[in-house]
């Protein structure tokens, strides 16, 4: 919203103050001011009122005229002018020789063979409107030669306030409201507005009007006749233009002017079209043409202003084309109303049509404004167009009153909330300048919230704190730390494990952490042959490609692998992310935090890659939990799982995750010649696993004896079983030292380490144990390699 300092200064005397500093303070105390502040009229000088005294056609040009103009000096000035609207006796804006218009300095110059000693200007050229159809037509009775800047409010400072920062402040959608803030910031009084006394029309007939819907909070209207003026006064048009609105005609400009001044949207109907005003919703949908000529679809939730049963305007949004003021309009009905904010907002969303009026209504306007705005309207109208006649009594249906709000609090509350000392007098005067009625008695404050702040904005005493502190200025706060007792912080187990997992994967295994989205990328997954992706769906995805929530991390990672082929012949990626596996009995999502790890390598032995991943997983459990894990082969459930070597990862008998090889169909779609393996761990289950503390064992002072045994087999499990069966406490370690795989000739060599803490072992006792192990295995047909 654009704001004019001239307009604000109508209501508060800022003389002697730095206006830019005030605007900056406004940004810090009230609402955000955008960066580019415009200095209107800054690059305009030497433009005066001139009268056209003679007009000659240019002998060779159809467009150009040779004018003599009177600028109040002794001699008339010769000017060549190309404007179509020149006429004898017309007063216009004239840039004298030496005048400044934007970048241009006016100098005498020949134009089509004639010297021109200056320039007649359009309103657009002097920057007070966008009208460049002809030169400015000055109808006011003014002395020739008067500088235009003395005549009109061309010099002004215009600043823009970010609309978003005004969402909770319906009162700030107007110059008067903003002026109130400036008054409080500048510590100057706010001038009251001048109004027409509407009670003098009480004897006139009332307008037939009735609110038939609770969505209309208040509806006020008044009828009048005899408007003689068609064009608004220049200063009014300048203000509207500077504030981003185009001048249309006097009446429309007046309603816009009032809206910018007081924040109350108004609408003028042709009284013939609104003989019995009814405000209501319809029980059926229909099409309705608004005054911009657009057909709009009205549904049963949209509040309408009607003439009986005929809709004439969309309440709070826009008038209808049929009830617009036209040439032969004799009597006007001025509407000033308040509607339910949420209903207006929702209607604008459904209609996808937001207007200056609806923007204000959405913020919960103060219903007290409706009649005040009419009184102000009539006051200004009569001042500008004295023949105007009010022909009805003020007709007002005040259906919904907001409750009055009075808040009490004590000084200690303010002190506690602010943490600084703000004295009672400052509190009282600040609140009073902002329109609150405040009193204090022995440190107890009682504050009555003004109606324009009581529609939703200020409801609790913490809101009052904001009023006091923002005007006090946050920059003026003395800042200090809180004094709180010390307590140790304890990291959440999940967070701690997460950090450690990331460190191990990055630092030790050189894997890369990637982020992704929580939904399935349907297209990307299809491209690698994954279609079965989950049934938890978004209701309002903007794009069908992201409609379902993933239930495992792996497809996302496989898509990432595919998009990174070419990065390197070998890489590993991981992410700790969320998945939703289904709904619980309360219909709530079952969410899990999962670690996904995927390794990719070109042309290697898949066994090595798989074992690398297996080792990574084992290290995670060993390092972070001092636990061993077991694997259990399972059948594939998803398209990307290779049926062989798919294993659940178990710890303490609980399934924590899964490890596997990518199914050849999916793998070939990612890369024809590469191996891809994956693992997924439930991080929350992992975090819940008890961390076994390290039990220290002093190293034995006696030498260990190592026995190496090589068996003809491809399976390690029976060997380990046989070693365990030996139940020998002297066995300190078992290590696989060689694996040779070639069908029948496969062999596994193990080293068994024997040691005792108290003595040196004899070769004989150790051999006895290893012989037993060998015998056990030979019984099962697993022979020592000869």
């Amino acid at each position: 919203m654009f704001l004019s300092m001239n307009w604000i200064k109508d209501f508060v005397d800022l003389s002697g103050l730095d206006e830019l500093a005030l605007i900056n303070q406004f940004s810090l105390s009230t609402a955000e001011v955008e960066n580019d502040i415009q200095f209107k009229g800054k690059d305009l000088s030497g433009v005066v009122v001139a009268e056209i005294k003679s007009i000659e056609n240019h002998p060779e040009s159809k467009k150009l005229h040779l004018l003599k103009v009177d600028i109040g000096a002794e001699e008339l000035v010769d000017v060549v002018c190309g404007a179509p609207n020149v006429r004898l006796g017309m007063k216009t804006a004239f840039a004298k020789v030496g005048a400044q218009i934007g970048e241009i300095t006016i100098a005498p110059r020949p134009l089509a063979g004639y010297m021109s000693h200056g320039m007649c200007c359009s309103e657009s050229e002097i920057g007070i409107s966008d009208d460049h159809s002809g030169i400015m037509d000055i109808t006011d009775d003014v002395a020739l030669g008067t500088d235009l800047k003395e005549l009109y409010e061309i010099d002004d400072i215009i600043f823009e306030v970010d609309n978003k920062s005004l969402t909770n402040r319906p009162d700030l959608w107007s110059h008067y409201g903003i002026a109130r803030e400036f008054a409080a910031i500048a510590k100057r009084p706010l001038k009251p507005l001048d109004f027409d006394d509407l009670s003098k029309y009480d004897g006139l007939p009332k307008v037939d009007m009735k609110i038939e819907d609770p969505l209309c909070q208040r509806y006020s209207c008044l009828q009048f006749e005899n408007i003689s003026r068609a064009v608004s006064p220049v200063n009014m048009r300048i203000r509207l233009y500077y504030c981003g609105m185009r001048a249309i005609n006097f009446l429309a400009d007046m309603t816009n002017y009032l809206m910018l001044e007081m924040g109350q949207p108004m609408h003028a109907f042709d009284s013939r079209k609104v003989e019995n005003i009814r405000i209501k919703r319809f029980d059926h949908d229909f099409e309705f043409q608004t005054l911009d000529g657009v057909e709009r679809h009205i549904d049963t939730d949209t509040l309408m202003i009607c003439n009986g049963d005929t809709p004439v305007a969309i309440a709070g949004i826009m008038g209808g084309l049929d009830s617009e003021i036209v040439e032969d309009t004799h009597t006007l009905t001025l509407e000033s109303a308040t509607f339910d904010a949420v209903s207006i907002r929702k209607s604008t969303v459904r209609l996808s049509h937001r207007t200056d009026a609806s923007m204000r209504y959405e913020k919960s306007l103060d219903p007290e404004l409706t009649t005040a705005a009419i009184a102000r309207f009539v006051y200004l109208l009569k001042k500008i167009d004295s023949g105007v006649e009010v022909v009805s009594a003020l007709t007002d249906d005040y259906a919904y009153h907001y409750p009055e709000i009075t808040l009490s609090f004590d000084k200690a509350y303010v002190d506690r909330y602010t943490g600084i000392e703000i004295d009672n007098n400052t509190i009282l005067t600040t609140l009073e300048r902002l329109g609150f009625k405040a009193s204090e008695n022995d440190g107890e404050f009682e504050v009555k919230v003004p109606s324009w702040r009581a529609t939703k904005d200020v409801t609790i005493k913490a809101d009052i704190i904001e009023e006091i502190t923002r005007i006090y200025g946050y920059d003026n706060f003395e800042i200090h730390t809180a004094s709180a007792p010390l307590f140790p912080t304890r990291p959440e187990p999940v967070k701690k494990d997460e950090d450690n997992i990331k460190d191990i994967l990055v630092k030790r295994y050189a894997l890369h952490e990637l982020h992704s989205y929580i939904w399935n990328y349907v297209d990307e997954f299809k491209a690698i042959g994954i279609e079965n992706i989950g049934e938890i769906k978004l209701k309002n995805a903007s794009n069908p490609n992201i409609e379902t929530i993933r239930k495992t991390m792996i497809p996302t990672q496989l898509a990432q692998v595919k998009s990174n082929i070419g990065f390197s012949d070998s890489f590993g990626i991981f992410e700790i992310g969320r998945v939703v596996t289904g709904l619980d009995e309360n219909n709530l999502c079952i969410e899990h935090k999962m670690l996904g790890v995927t390794l990719y390598q070109k042309t290697v032995n898949v066994r090595d890659l798989y074992f690398k991943l297996k080792s990574i997983i084992e290290v995670l459990f060993d390092d972070l939990k001092h636990r061993e894990i077991t694997f259990k082969a399972v059948s594939p459930e998803r398209e990307y799982e290779h049926p062989t070597n798919l294993n659940e990862i178990l710890c303490d008998g609980e399934v924590i995750g899964k490890i596997g090889i990518v199914h050849p169909v999916v793998q070939k779609k990612i890369d024809k010649r590469a191996c891809i393996v994956f693992a997924e761990l439930d991080v929350e289950k992992f975090a819940a696993i008890e961390n076994k503390s390290i039990s220290y064992e002093a190293p034995s002072k006696f030498p260990a004896i190592e026995i190496d045994l090589s068996f003809v087999t491809s399976k390690f499990a029976p060997i380990m079983k046989a070693i365990e069966n030996a139940k020998c406490e002297l066995i300190k370690d078992v290590e696989v030292i060689d694996i040779y795989e070639e069908g029948e000739r496969s062999s596994i060599a193990v080293r068994i380490v024997f040691c005792d803490a108290t003595r040196t072992l004899t070769r004989e006792e150790v051999t006895a144990v290893s012989d037993a192990i060998v015998a056990d295995l030979e019984e099962q047909g697993i022979m020592l390699k000869g």
Binding site: H512, Y517, I536, N564
Partner: protein
């Protein structure tokens, strides 16, 4: 007899040993010479064998001379052995080629996601200041995300176009404030019973239903922080934000508060920091010539939010803030396109190797 006493033989032996030693070039040759001269059948040992025929006096003199020769020979052998050892080391040194360090090396290195790096940095700072780090789900209920934090039913933020709703009625959290209620409840008991202030941060992924471009993402990270105690004030909030942000940016940051409207706080603020590029003095393109950067919303926790979290707003006050971790990461590393962060591109993301 005289022969025996002539010094010639001693001199000869000494000289031949000296010559042989100087010709010796490796430890084995030295050892051979030691055996040849001092061994059981060596020249010097042989000399002693010839003593049998001598008189006692002569024996005494002769023995003494042989011993002297023996000692001198042993010394020169040892000396030469030392020399050779030194020579050998010198040779080894000399034979070491000088390496060309300009030849690049390549060790596989992993990488952290930049969000992880920034998040850890923030967590470190907050933990040091006594804050607990919390974790929270991504799918939440309407109650958690909105109702519990005083966002009214008709607030525009709850409109379908801003929030991703799931078919079961839950939603993807649109703000980390969704965790506030749970955090207040989790720590409220300790606050009331032990006087332990609530100090917690909760970093997390948030979702907004909007079109993506270089500065907009539908999936991004925030970090919310709350502190609640008996006398937490606006003054504390400003102090705290200034201290914390100075830590985050590793320099003395100026902060400024402007009124900002957020339903979960009252008063609510927009917090600006002095521009990191121009320091706020002059204004520059990166701060749009204002000298300030809008960084994060914050405010005093709304009494309704405290109440909903089981905490009496008459007794306790608190502040809350929301830091955009994604924005911080972009500022810190100069990432220009927000979409790079979720792109999964190793070319982009493998650069973040160090956890600093």
């Amino acid at each position: 007899m005289k022969d025996f006493f002539s010094f010639d033989i001693f001199e000869e032996i000494g000289q031949s040993l000296a010559e042989a030693l100087s010709d010796a070039t490796d430890p084995q040759m030295i050892e051979d010479l030691r055996v040849m001269y001092l061994g059981k059948k060596g020249y010097i040992t042989d000399l002693l064998k010839t003593m049998k025929t001598l008189s006692l006096d002569e024996k005494k003199t002769f023995g003494q001379m042989v011993n002297e020769l023996k000692q001198a020979s042993a010394d020169s052998i040892a000396k030469r052995a030392e020399e050779l050892k030194a020579l050998e080391i010198q040779n080894e040194i000399d034979s070491m080629p000088e390496f060309d360090l300009t030849i690049p090396t390549k060790e596989d290195r992993g990488s952290y996601h930049p969000i992880t790096l920034v998040q850890r940095e923030c967590e470190r700072i907050f933990t040091a200041m006594g804050f607990n780090v919390e974790d929270y789900p991504e799918v939440v209920t309407d109650y958690e995300c909105f109702e519990a934090v005083n966002v009214p039913k008709d607030h525009p933020a709850r409109d379908m176009q801003d929030t991703y709703y799931l078919e079961n009625g839950e939603l993807l959290k649109s703000q980390t404030s969704a965790a506030q209620n749970a955090i207040l409840r989790k720590y409220g008991k300790q606050l009331k019973e032990q006087g332990m202030p609530i100090r917690a941060i909760f970093p997390g992924r948030c979702f907004r239903n909007e079109a993506t471009d270089a500065t907009h993402e539908n999936t991004f990270f925030q970090m919310e922080g709350v502190m609640v105690d008996k006398n937490i004030s606006i003054s504390n909030l400003i102090y705290f934000m200034k201290t914390m942000l100075s830590e985050v940016f590793q320099r003395d940051i100026k902060v400024r508060l402007r009124p900002g409207f957020f339903p979960f706080v009252e008063p609510g603020f927009e917090l600006d920091i002095s521009c990191l590029i121009c320091g706020g003095e002059t204004g520059c393109p990166s701060c749009n010539h204002s000298g300030w950067l809008e960084l994060c919303p914050c405010g005093m926790i709304h009494p309704e939010v405290l109440k909903e979290g089981g905490i009496d707003p008459e007794e306790y006050t608190g502040f809350a803030f929301g830091l955009g971790l994604t924005r911080l990461a972009m500022m810190k590393y100069g990432v220009k396109d927000i979409r790079d962060l979720n792109s999964g591109s190793l070319k982009a993301l493998s650069q973040f190797t160090e956890d600093k």
